[in-house]
């Protein structure tokens, strides 16, 4: 049985109830659903963040996300997986990213979901610019993200 894998890059918000419906509909052979939601935090390194601008590389982003979904599906027994990543202007507490995985077995769902967000953070061409009290600045990539991504390397 091949997996149902989908990735979306969009400015629009998404609805969590609808995303769970997508995961669960006609999917009663799956017992386990794991999801990750990332939202805009109202602070980052001590500075109060009022908004975020998310830039991406159209085309390459979708290609990378689809490649990661395929890799997750190859490595773990998953039934469905979906990534949604927003771009454009976002405010504190806005949703940024959604990664949801269904599987017959919870360990596969957890591993695939965490792999996807860790790999996305270091491989998918998105860039965040923070608009805080003291002006705008592009975020620096975190070494801790690189370290997390390396843990998944075979």
């Amino acid at each position: 049985m091949s997996s149902l894998l989908e990735a979306y890059v969009q400015t629009e918000d998404f609805d969590i109830a609808q995303e769970y419906q997508y995961l669960r509909e006609n999917n009663s052979e799956c017992g386990a659903f794991v999801s990750f939601l990332g939202q805009v935090r109202d602070f980052n390194e001590g500075d109060s963040v009022s908004s975020l601008e998310l830039e991406h590389y159209p085309g390459m982003t979708e290609a990378v996300l689809n490649k990661l979904l395929q890799e997750a599906s190859d490595r773990w027994a998953i039934s469905r997986a979906k990534i949604i990543h927003r771009v454009g202007a976002l405010q504190a507490s806005d949703k940024i990213v959604w990664v949801a995985v269904s599987s017959a077995h919870r360990a596969d769902a957890f591993a695939a979901c965490e792999f996807l967000i860790d790999a996305l953070k270091t491989q998918a061409p998105f860039w965040k610019k923070e608009c805080a009290e003291h002006g705008e600045r592009w975020l620096d990539a975190k070494d801790s993200d690189q370290a997390k991504a390396r843990q998944w390397m075979k």
Partner: protein, 82 residues
């Protein structure tokens, strides 16, 4: 002719998001970088960034990669999405 793309802080510093570049084969990504650096600042320091990332035709590439007519070469800093 190849297409060059610049993202995030590079796009802002260079004041440019894309351009077309005429090139003579054989030519590697490194050759293009050297050619762009000769424009002086801010090109020289931006393209010397030790964290510079490259993609050729939307796939991560190294500076040694050879380029072909119609290729898309993108320069960007380490990614920070998610």
């Amino acid at each position: 002719m190849i297409t060059l793309l610049y993202f995030a802080r590079y796009r802002e510093v260079l004041g440019l998001d894309s351009e077309q570049l005429v090139f003579a084969k054989p030519c590697t990504v490194q050759d293009v970088i050297e050619q762009l650096k000769q424009r002086g600042e801010p090109w020289s320091s931006t393209l010397s960034d030790s964290k510079l990332m490259l993609a050729v035709n939307q796939t991560i590439a190294s500076a040694e990669q050879e380029l072909n007519d119609g290729d898309e070469l993108a320069f960007f800093p380490p990614v920070t999405g998610g």
